[in-house]
């Protein structure tokens, strides 16, 4: 739903994680993030043992670092654990 909302609001193509497929997926992600106009990343992921708690997602932290290095607009959205 967020992807459709973003595409409708900004009229820009939105790429989510499941849109990347095939060989060289890491290269695709690198190229996409470094050339993106807006990058929204969720820094957390539900814990494997308990779905009510959240832990830091290392992969998205790396992707956020790529965005920081490319000086792209960022929205870092960590979930607040309760």
């Amino acid at each position: 739903m967020l992807k459709a909302y973003l595409e409708d609001l900004t009229a820009m193509r939105c790429w989510a994680a499941h849109d990347f497929d095939g060989a060289g997926i890491r290269g695709q992600i690198l190229a996409s993030i470094s050339t993106a106009r807006l990058a929204l990343t969720n820094l957390t992921v539900p814990a494997p043992s308990d779905s009510t708690t959240f832990v830091v997602n290392v992969n998205t932290c790396i992707e956020t670092g790529i965005s920081l290095g490319a000086a792209r607009a960022l929205g870092l959205d960590p979930r607040q654990s309760t």
């Binding site: 909302y5 973003l6 830091v56 932290c61 607009a73 870092l76 979930r79 654990s81």
Partner: protein
């Protein structure tokens, strides 16, 4: 939302040091996620960059406002309804000198744009003479 220290009553996750800045936004449910995404993406919303459309809209708005405001100050909203409109009223607001063939439409639409009377409806326009 907004950044909070990582050791604030164990409420927030311990994020990497380099992410401890204003760009980190916290949320607790999906509704807040939608709000965050909206706030971030709304500055990137699509816009129409058409100089002609912008200029036409601006000129039309200011022309209507400057033409009609003095006249409508003397006209109460009750006097601008279709049932009580008179020839004197049409002349006062200048609708009779318009090139439009239907002065009722011009008067009602101008008055609605200026905000002094209610928005016109189809019942406010006299289309009988066009039939």
């Amino acid at each position: 939302m907004g950044f909070a220290p990582a050791d604030d009553n164990d409420k927030h996750l311990r994020l990497p040091f380099m992410y401890h800045d204003f760009q980190v936004r916290w949320y607790s449910d999906n509704v807040q996620v939608l709000g965050i995404v909206h706030r971030l993406a709304v500055s990137y919303r699509r816009s129409i960059f058409n100089h002609e459309i912008t200029m036409q809209a601006s000129v039309r708005y200011w022309t209507i406002v400057n033409m009609e405001r003095p006249a409508l100050l003397a006209c109460g909203p009750a006097l601008c309804s279709a049932s009580t409109r008179s020839v004197t009223h049409e002349l006062r607001i200048g609708a009779g000198r318009s090139i439009l063939t239907n002065p009722a439409y011009l008067a009602a639409s101008r008055a609605a744009v200026t905000g002094w009377v209610k928005a016109p409806t189809m019942g406010d326009f006299a289309f009988d003479h066009l039939a």
